[in-house]
Amino acid sequence: MSGYRLRTHHGQENRLTPSAQVAQATSPRPWAAGGARGEGGGGANASGSGTAEARRRASAAAETFENVYNLVREHYVDPLPSATRMSQGTVRGMIAALNDPNSYFLEPAEMRVFDAEADGRFAGVGAVTALRSVKKDGVTEHKIAVVAPLPGSPAEHAGLKPGDVITHVDGKWILGASPLLDYNRVLKQYQAEGASEEDLDKAAESARERIRAGLGLHKAVNLLRRGTGEKRVLTVEREGAAKPLRIELTTANTKVEPVTARTITVNGRSAAYVRVAALTQNAGDAFARALEGLPPADGGVVLDLRGNPGGSLEAAQAIDAYLSRGGPFLVETVAGGRRNTLGSPSSSRSDLPRVAVLVDRGTGSTAEALAASLADKQNAPLLGARTFGDGLVQTLYPLSDGSGFTLTTGRMSGPRGTAWDRVGLAPRVSLPAGLTEEAVVARALDALDVPTAARTAAGRPAR
């Protein structure tokens, strides 16, 4: 998952977040303070979806659940699994029923992977992936797409690229869609006399084979995200490549330094060049420290979000607050169609730097949110290539036994409505690949020097 937040509290999201919370949000364990504020994730919201009839049905259903649990406890002949295990099964079943590839249950071990990644410690192949749902012939298929390989990771060394779709791990087919779909299609033809019994047998055999040899979506993601020193072979579909690529690599730990910064001077103009490689939980703090450690630059800040797959929403928000006069950061459309604006209190800072943002196909999720906010609010020019296009927010809900689950809880758009989900953000200035940092910074400074009126006329990022 490339964009997420830890469980936050809905009551707060309807207004701008006080700055204290921005700071708090970048602390490593924001949920520590969460419990005290927890007005109940569902409390306020569930009431919105409930007619009296719906509430009555929900209450009858809840009674059924408790009855089943008590009856099983009382009558099941053999020893039962622990209450915790049964609870985990409950959550797994409920979340799976949502049929959303980005909402899933996490075992305690999977939660620890999540925690490590939030701290910038990645294992496995070291690439951030996103699950994409594609509707084809009325059937939804899920795909694992690479948002970006992390700097210094096995994936980067092996040449994995943003936008690559991983179809097999170690030669095993990833079950992005039920293998029965093919069978059902043939069955329909057979029933309409359009296919022979032999065709049907063949389809059944192939479905069986795929189920036997295939990898579940989350099993595949786990293989990509876990392990060190293990050989993996990825089969990858790449746009423009005639046939699937075979990529071999050895898994390793990748420690991502979220922020690196230096001053770049070109043609007598200097810029603070800050690269944010991933939005780890501490990226906001690291960003502030890095920028404050640089001498003042007359040309402005060049924020490099290329290859940044996103991460913590709170970290993105903290960086946005630092580079702007605060105010709205993003608009999140949540359940029931309500729109929440997230942001920081507006300030009248006078020392606000000019900002240009570098983006590419590996800029995803909350990194896209940061780019869109700066473009919408500060009229910051985006330079590079069209971004990945992941606008969904997942919230991670930890449970007290160490397990947890994620839910898709919102769709992001910029403070002025710029949306990028599935379409990406178009850069104002397209840059060819392979330019040096100096050349890129020169182009960014040029873009910043275009008079404001002309910049506005040049338009905002595409929707």
């Binding site: 569902g42 919105g48 622990s82 609870s87 409920m94």
Partner: protein
């Protein structure tokens, strides 16, 4: 194999979820835990709930036990409040989420027989158990030339009252031609609610013009027993039992008495592909065969073993006195209640088992209806044969079966070639079951054994097994 016999009108073919026990006592006194209503007020979930479920602030805090009901409620509230369906569909339905949660919880038991039934599944299962269905009351089968034929209008059924005959070929249902449709498809067309009418176009031998019959569907008692004098010359009777539903014992007794009136000298009792059914019915049917003592042993949750002994009022007549030899046919799909009956017959030495090793399900389930018309089926007992053999299948770590089932006294398998021949015989004349049995090596073996025993005189009874 009996699975060749196609379905009945108004009968849904039994699915995998067979069960053995339906403990009426538990059913009646289904323990209904008083509902803590405050927990279910979804509009005002206790604010502490999520907070309590939230992870402690230190990463590696002591493991905390989760309570399934509290967890379920917290997740239900969270999902209903927070989930944004990316596909843009409506808010998740709480009932669907609840059932998914229950299924997820029960999946952790790793027992395929403990399962939750939605109201629809419960209704369907109860229909099967009661043996009463809405329909026209006729059995259908497919002929060699892919036409659908009525093989038997059931006694006193709407079909029989309208003069439908065995051998009639169904040409159309409600005007829709059946040409090219499978027998299952035709059955789908004929099925419907009681009180509604279906119009059938029939072709009858010896009549030029097709018949058109309007039949009002009604509740009919569906037969679970099929019987015939398999060997007229040697007076060997045959009774096939499809499942142990509420009608099974009564229908078995009726078939038995008809065969006895025809002077039966030997009996083939076919339990192949019988997935089981009600424990009390298995108890009753076994009591007809077994003279005294335990029919089956059951072990409760608390480890206590008790025997279910012969129901004496069922143990009477010629079957009880052992006046003719018995062969029971079993195969890998004879499960549960079938294994109780065949296990009792074998352990008491009152019959010979012929076929292949049975399925191996030594567990009893209890079905408990719930307030919203759903139900839960829970494994509540283990059972053992009268000689206390555990027949439940067991697996090694690699998932390979290492034990289980009842090994027949005489092992006879059915090959694919046998099956092809049986199928061909059946399709060439669906009305002539005996023609199919000619190619059934298990039936042939049974006939051979019984002819031998009849020639030598009736089999003696063995000693009884003591009850506790």
């Amino acid at each position: 194999m009996r699975s060749l016999v196609k379905g009945f009108v108004g009968v849904s073919v039994i699915t995998a979820g067979f069960f053995c026990g339906f403990n009426a006592d538990v059913l009646k006194d289904a323990p209904r835990t008083p509902v803590r209503t405050t927990l279910y007020r979804l509009e005002a979930a206790p604010p502490t709930l999520l907070a309590r479920l939230a992870r402690p602030s230190t990463a590696h805090a002591a493991q905390v036990t989760l309570d399934p009901t509290e967890t379920y409620l917290a997740v239900l509230n969270t999902v209903r409040g927070d989930f944004l369906n990316p596909a843009g569909a409506a808010a998740p339905d709480p009932t669907k989420l609840t059932y998914a949660g229950i299924n997820g919880m029960l999946a952790t038991l790793n027992d395929r027989y403990t399962e939750f039934w939605t109201p629809q599944e419960y209704r369907q299962n109860m229909e099967e158990t009661s043996g009463v269905f809405a329909g026209i009351g006729a059995k259908l089968d497919e002929t060699k030339d892919n036409r659908v034929m009525i093989t038997e209008p059931l006694e006193n059924s709407p079909a029989a009252r309208k003069g439908v005959l065995a051998g009639d070929v169904v040409l159309a249902v409600n005007g829709k031609p059946t040409l090219g449709l499978t027998v299952d498809k035709v059955i789908e067309l004929i099925k419907g609610e009681a009180g509604t009418t279906v119009r059938m176009t029939l072709e009858r031998k010896g009549r030029k013009a097709p018949l058109s019959v309007a039949i009002t569907r009604a509740y009919v008692q569906s037969p679970v027993v099929e019987w015939r004098m398999e060997d007229e010359r040697n007076r060997i009777g045959y009774i096939y039992l499809e499942m142990f539903n509420e009608q099974a014992d009564q229908q078995f007794a009726a078939a038995l008495s008809k065969l006895e009136k025809q002077g039966m000298k030997g009996l083939i009792f076919d339990l192949r592909d019988n997935p089981g059914g009600l424990l009390n019915i298995a108890h009753e049917i076994a009591s007809r065969f077994v003279p005294n003592g335990p029919v089956v042993w059951v072990k409760e949750k608390n480890g206590q073993m008790s025997s279910m002994n012969v129901v004496q009022r069922k143990h009477q007549g010629r079957l009880a006195t052992g006046s003719y030899p018995i062969v029971v046919l079993v195969n890998g799909n004879s499960a549960s209640a079938s294994e109780i009956v065949s296990g009792a017959i074998r352990d008491h030495g009152v019959g010979t088992l012929v076929g292949t090793t049975t399925y191996g399900k030594g567990l009893v389930q209890t079905i408990i209806p719930l307030g919203d018309d759903s139900a839960v089926k829970i494994t509540t007992q283990h059972y053992f044969t009268p000689k206390k053999q555990d027949i439940n299948r067991k697996f090694d770590e690699k998932g390979r079966q290492i034990a289980g089932g009842i090994k027949p006294d005489v092992e006879v398998a059915i090959t694919d070639r046998d099956l092809d021949r049986m199928q061909a015989a059946r399709r060439s004349n669906p009305l002539d079951r005996k023609a199919m049995d000619q190619h059934d090596p298990q039936v042939q073996k049974a006939l051979g054994l019984l002819r031998g025993k009849i020639a030598l005189g009736a089999a003696p009874r063995t000693a009884s097994i003591a009850a506790e």
